[in-house]
């Protein structure tokens, strides 16, 4: 893409929804009366990120160095009309999709990994650490830390580690050390292993291990999702989409995305929330992890060990261990507080989709639009297909966020190719 086109579409600022929410966002809570786990964040994440976490500033300037890297990794990402899908479904409205899979690492996760690594480097930090489930976040962290010359370490949920050797290989090529979690590298990992040496791991456990490692080594923890600051960075998805639709002369009627911790979905829809009450927004989750349907809206821990503060969110419980992993990125027990608040108020609707339906949707999308989307993104596509089935005669403009490609997740088709 020409630089002038990039400049027109890519925003100068990220957008933070907090000052525009319809009611105050409940603050994080720290348990106990000894130390504050909120204050502890000073030792876990870069200071600038922590400032962004609690800011009321509606706009945060994207540093020039970060914008440059955004261009390098493929931003702005394309917004495309799914003409073949419209034909197949005989749909009279329009279907667009924002394709975050077009970034170098293959998902939206790089949008926040870059600024987080940048702030860490600016503050003189030499190493970053994080967790990964499906591997998308670990890959994004691996590349971002390589770009800023930082050492990096990734605790990878053990089932994914065993089932996705290619993901691990990608992270290794970027220079990252990948460790299966639970591991014997941390007190928390050792305590889990002592109870069950074959523990499959979970995102909550891997987060706790990464945070413990950061606290013990003076490295900084990279936040993959859930937190306000991450969603602010991910607003680039929605801001670009807004501009791209504007250029096309289109207005969305329906926006659909998938939810793990809530970062791609929130980044996609939040820039549209304030402007219009008439856009239907649908958050699609895995029926196996039905946080909005079956989870309570309550204070719960971000991580399993409870090192990090509690957040008010929809949660299935910080100890939640899902038993299957066809969409590792949607397995998190909770969802971002601002997103949870808007779901609670009914501003954002939710939908739950099962594995079979997701696999069918991925096949339909790949055979019409050519893209093999990530299993996580397959939920958004499946929810869109469901929606369209019920709206055959409408002329609504539907925009789907396809958060990543699925070229590293082809294993999910192996049982059911057809």
């Amino acid at each position: 893409m020409l630089k002038s086109q990039q400049d027109e579409i890519m925003p100068q600022n990220w957008y933070n929804i907090i000052p525009d929410l319809p009611e105050p966002l409940p603050p994080p809570r720290s348990e106990g009366s000894k130390n504050s786990s909120i204050e502890l964040l000073n030792r876990i994440i870069p200071g600038e990120l922590l400032r962004q976490e609690f800011t009321f500033n509606r706009y945060e300037r994207i540093p020039d160095e970060v914008r440059e890297k955004y261009q390098m990794i493929g931003r702005p990402t394309p917004l495309l009309r799914a003409v073949n899908l419209e034909k197949l479904l005989d749909y009279r409205g329009k279907i667009f999709y924002k394709y975050e899979g077009a970034t170098i690492t293959g998902s939206h996760k790089i949008n926040t990994a870059i600024p987080q690594a940048f702030y860490a480097r600016e503050e003189g930090i030499s190493e970053v650490v994080t967790e990964t489930g499906a591997g998308q976040w670990g890959t994004a962290t691996a590349l971002a830390s390589a770009l800023y010359g930082l050492k990096s370490k990734v605790f990878m949920v053990r089932v994914s580690y065993d089932q996705k050797p290619m993901r691990k290989a990608v992270m290794n090529v970027y220079g990252t050390e990948v460790i299966p979690s639970p591991s014997s590298e941390t007190d928390y990992g050792r305590s889990i292993l002592s109870q069950n040496a074959d523990h499959p791991g979970s995102l909550g456990i891997a987060i706790s291990e990464a945070v413990e490692y950061a606290l013990n080594t003076g490295s900084r923890y990279m936040l993959g999702s859930v937190m306000n600051s991450v969603i602010t960075h991910q607003s680039i998805i929605g801001l670009e989409t807004k501009k791209q639709l504007e250029i096309e002369g289109e207005q969305p009627d329906v926006m659909i995305g998938c939810v793990g911790g809530g970062s791609n979905f929130s980044g996609f829809v939040f820039p549209f929330v304030g402007n219009s009450n008439s856009i239907e927004m649908i958050a699609s989750t895995a029926a196996e992890v039905p946080k909005f349907r079956d989870g309570g809206y309550k204070y719960d821990f971000i991580d399993s060990a409870g090192i990090l503060p509690k957040l008010r969110m929809y949660s299935l419980g910080a100890g939640f261990v899902p038993d299957r992993i066809y969409a590792g990125g949607l397995r998190y027990h909770g969802a971002a507080p601002a997103l949870s608040l808007l779901v609670k108020r009914g501003t954002i609707a939710h939908d739950e989709v099962q594995e079979n339906e997701v696999i069918d949707a991925l096949k339909i999308f790949s055979r019409t639009q050519g893209i093999i989307a990530a299993p996580e993104s397959g939920h958004a596509i499946a929810s869109a297909l469901r929606y369209i089935k019920g709206e055959k005669n409408s002329r609504k403009t539907i925009v789907i966020n396809v958060s990543g490609h699925g070229l590293m997740d082809l294993g999910i088709f192996s049982k059911k190719v057809g």
């Binding site: 000052p19 319809p22 105050p24 504050s36 204050e39 964040l41 000073n42 976490e53 800011t55 009321f56």
Partner: protein
């Protein structure tokens, strides 16, 4: 109230009054001090003080010196019988009250509750934080005429990075002409100096004050207040 014990509280209040404090916020303990940091949390735990008790010495000391005093309570602790609590606060001579959890946990009912409190001739002191949306700040402040409490940090007594200048801009824009008292995480003269530059009406010193209360050392309380008074007339 009640921390570390009644006589220390009385002595501290006397010291505060001698050192030019204008307004006093008296916090009552809660069984669930949900939005407080560790320092203030400790003052709540196992503390039997409540609005049921009269504390004649404390209140007559405050009244004698013409100090306006305000109660800080969690709404979740008083909502079961709000009218009783409001009546008691009036009897005890409180000028108004601060309910830090009202807009967060009871947002949908908050307008009615505020009107009800004002109807009992108590001042409702709005409590805003960094996470209070702009529209809520505008609307709630318009409903009230009292001073305003603005919490700078995500909970009491803790420090995360904060851009004082942008807070000043925000408050200047949303709360022009209002008396804003800043609290949470204010520790020393440097903070008070920054607040004064922002046009603050006052600074609420909680955790730092409580640390001195715990030690019971009135000399250090006087010093803290003198230092701060030198930076702002809070």
């Amino acid at each position: 109230m009640g921390y570390p014990d009644d006589s220390t509280v009385l002595a501290a209040l006397k010291t505060a009054i001698r050192n030019g404090v204008h307004k006093i916020e008296l916090g009552y303990p809660s069984p669930d001090p949900k939005y407080d940091g560790p320092g203030i949390k400790r003052t709540h735990l196992g503390n039997p003080a409540s609005i049921d008790s009269d504390y004649p010495e404390i209140f007559s000391e405050l009244r004698e010196h013409g100090i306006s005093y305000y109660a800080l309570l969690y709404y979740s602790d008083v909502c079961a019988d709000l009218d009783y609590s409001l009546r008691r606060l009036k009897e005890l001579g409180f000028k108004g009250l601060i309910l830090p959890d009202l807009l967060i946990d009871y947002f949908s009912e908050s307008k009615q509750i505020i009107t009800h409190i004002q109807g009992q001739s108590l001042e409702f002191v709005p409590f805003f934080t960094q996470a209070t949306p702009d529209a809520v700040i505008r609307e709630v402040s318009r409903k009230t005429r009292s001073w305003i409490y603005y919490g700078l940090q995500p909970s009491t007594g803790i420090i995360v990075p904060l851009d004082f200048k942008s807070v000043g801009r925000r408050v200047g824009e949303l709360l022009a002409g209002r008396n804003v008292v800043y609290g949470f995480g204010i520790r020393g003269t440097r903070d008070v100096e920054l607040l004064r530059n922002m046009g603050a009406y006052g600074a609420a010193v909680g955790s730092a004050f409580v640390e001195h209360l715990r030690s019971g050392d009135m000399g250090s309380i006087a010093e803290l207040l003198k230092e701060m008074g030198g930076a702002a007339s809070a």
